[in-house]
Symmetry: C2
Subunit: 461 residues, 2 copies
């Protein structure tokens, strides 16, 4: 009997070989355990703040609720449950649509929201809006990055990995990058794009301006387009190293680089401290992309007709929040501060907690929403993992999950240097639960290390 189109054996090998660790073996096992109901699972595998109890900001939700129910704007009682500035803002956004939230927008997003995005970028970076800028609102940066990548190499393209320098605060070593690219090219691979995530996922660092300059120079030399995932730009937990956008650094470098390097930068409403992951909104900004290419991207995006309109409004609100003097300003600032200050404390509790554990060492989470501790696995543990048919850090993370309910992502899911092991966890559990979670981690780790430890021990890094 011949195969049918969607029999497993008929599927493309690229599909079968694809792996996504954030929702991989660990997540599936955690979901099973949750279903069995025997253990409370702490889902720190994915940056999903609202799922761990973070409350939405009131003002943007009021505005979008009113846009969803525009008939309320004619209701004489609307002022009893919505403040006047939310009502005004809902009218503003509805006026930018061609028929409310139920109508397709232009495939590039609502023109009016794209203007607000352009103004935000100009305020942030201090540079006038470039003609090469095109706001774009899409379904989250994962989807958008992969959409863009499909223009560069067809699905089945080759990923050329590079490593961050853990002992240099997760910075990038451009000499290593150059080697990676040269090696890939010698294998006949056409290298077209470089992706950076700043602030870092899974590593939580803020890249320094000097490092960003090196990266941009490198991309210029190697004719690579730089895809800058900057979705965590508002999630900063220290003052020494603020977020700087790749666009600003590039413009600061001046001509010829500022007119040469092709750069696409991403931002979303999922991240930042808003954490509106389920709304699926974002934009990307294109710098030095030729107009004919922009036209092609527009054409292909048109096939999907329209990004979701309520998410576009969230994006507009995120880049133009309430201003001093607005009715909702104080509440908005209070709620925002509450979230950000708590995240800052949690980043500290978590990295301090990891660093107090045996054979665990962790850079401070400067930004984003992840800690990425290195777990120095004893040879016996590595041996036991092999016998169980598991990658060593998967083995460790599965044991952690079974013992504590903490659901993490093994470092091997992101790529890491040979013989070095990590796990990624978010800093998102509720602040009051954090000490207990770290206690529980420490207890597990102590037991693991004493079970698998040998007499040589490990010195701390």
């Amino acid at each position: 009997m011949s195969l049918k189109a969607l029999d497993y054996e008929s599927l493309n090998e690229n599909v079968k070989n694809c792996q996504y660790a954030v929702r991989g073996e660990l997540y599936l096992r955690a979901s099973e355990l949750q279903k069995e109901g025997k253990k409370q699972i702490i889902f720190t595998n994915v940056g999903n703040p609202h799922a761990l109890g973070q409350k939405p900001l009131t003002f943007p939700r009021q505005v979008v609720a009113l846009c969803q129910a525009p008939f309320l704007l004619d209701n004489p009682n609307v002022g009893m449950i919505f403040p006047a500035d939310a009502i005004a803002r809902a009218k503003h956004y509805l006026s930018l649509t061609s028929g409310g939230l139920g109508a397709y927008s232009d495939s590039r997003g609502l023109l009016g929201v794209r203007k607000e995005v352009a103004e935000f970028i100009q305020r942030r970076d201090g540079y006038p809006r470039l003609t090469s800028f095109l706001g774009w609102l899409d379904s989250g940066s994962s989807a958008t990055v992969s959409t863009l990548l499909s223009y560069i190499s067809l699905l089945g393209g080759t990923l050329v990995p590079y490593y961050l320098e853990e002992t240099d605060n997760w910075g990038l070593d451009v000499n290593n990058l150059r080697q990676s690219v040269a090696q890939a090219r010698s294998q006949g691979i056409t290298v077209r794009a470089m992706v950076i995530i700043n602030p870092g996922n899974p590593t939580g660092q803020c890249l320094s301006e000097a490092n960003l300059r090196e990266i941009l120079k490198f991309c210029c030399d190697e004719r690579l387009v730089l895809l800058g995932d900057e979705v965590y730009q508002q999630n900063i937990y220290q003052d020494e190293r603020p977020f700087i956008s790749s666009k600003k650094v590039l413009m600061d470098m001046g001509a010829p680089l500022s007119k040469e390097v092709q750069l696409i930068s991403f931002h979303t409403v999922s991240k930042g401290y808003w954490g509106e992951c389920g709304q699926r909104g974002g934009y990307f900004e294109m710098t030095n992309i030729p107009p004919r290419t922009v036209e092609e991207i527009y054409k292909v995006a048109s096939i999907a007709l329209s990004p979701n309109v309520s998410a576009q409004i969230f994006m507009g609100l995120m880049v133009s929040p309430p201003k001093p003097g607005d009715i909702s300003y104080d509440q908005f600032v209070r709620e925002s501060k509450g979230i950000l200050e708590s995240l800052r404390r949690r980043a500290r509790i978590m990295t301090d907690g990891f660093n107090s554990c045996k054979n665990v060492v962790c850079n401070f989470t400067e930004g984003a929403m992840y800690s990425f501790p290195q777990i120095k696995l004893p040879p016996k543990a590595i041996q036991a993992a092999k016998q169980a048919g598991k990658v060593p850090d998967v083995f460790y993370c599965l044991k952690l999950l079974e013992a504590t309910g903490i659901s993490t992502v093994p470092g091997s899911g992101f790529g890491q240097r040979e013989g070095v092991f990590h796990l990624r966890t978010t800093i998102l559990p509720a602040e009051e639960e954090m000490p207990e979670i770290m206690e529980s981690f420490k207890k597990f780790n102590d037991e693991f290390m004493s079970q698998y430890g040998d007499n040589f021990g490990y010195s701390r890094m």
Copy 2:
């Protein structure tokens, strides 16, 4: 100087060659004309009801507004502007999420909404939910169909066109299908999937049960997966030929076919009579797809993490609307009937209007939201088009746009038999504007036909 990654010359040829007529040359010209402000443009190029004045249904918008603003549920005044059943339903949907609309859902969608979808399918088709069913909620069917197709043939796969039989009410002739597939295979093309749109786009027909049986049998024989775009299933404008789902027809055929044919059926909130295009919600149902393949699809979908959660709730509401006895039932039915009955009248006005025009012939719009009249272009018009460097129906549609502001899609954008020309228009302009629009069309067409007509004339079909 070597090329940069996103220079136009570096782009993949598949991207450059891709065409999407709905937002193609005609749409771009219409947008220009609108910008110039000299002419009022009637955007009938895309099925976007709210952009043409259709009001959203009140009840679903109330529910989603409350889900966006869950803090209202604790507000003692909420009952003054929201009915109790909307409040109850908002609580129900929020209870299905893991943290409200801001939290990622499972990549397959919210389990509770998938259950509502399963119940809807069972009510509609009279068959118990199959184990092979997997509800899926995604960003509209265009995106979903293309996502699925990417599993079957990589981007750059080959489209094997087939033609519908205009004189047989836009039915499918299976002998022609068989020839198309045989010819493609003889050219070394691996044919894997067949797509049908029922009710039809651009053609507006409801496929008969007999025709669906033939198609399913054909897919079984040829080992093709059938992708059934059924997003217009609620848009039916006559009683003689109701919508029947491919799933029901397949189940009615019994074993072995009912256990053999791989079928994926699509539905969205964009279409139906709700017209919530900007919300980007939908589902697909898989029948006879092996569990290992479903797992692979789940894995790849996980990369995008989560469909937009508010759109999932719209889908839930669409498949489980208010019931008799509910507070909002009467209003919901009144609004629904108002829209559907007006669409029915508009389908009649439009097709009758086309059929009253010289050299124009149009099948009745039985369902969906499009009319697809054939325009019998005189040889002189075809000659003039060639001289202008245009495909003949593009030439006609551009002239129509310039003369009347009516923005349509040339039939060549969908594929049509050699030497035959059509245009697609939606039946969505406001009912009161419809007579004037058809008048304006008739006037243009009369002038066009007299300008380009020759003395031979054309007999009506």
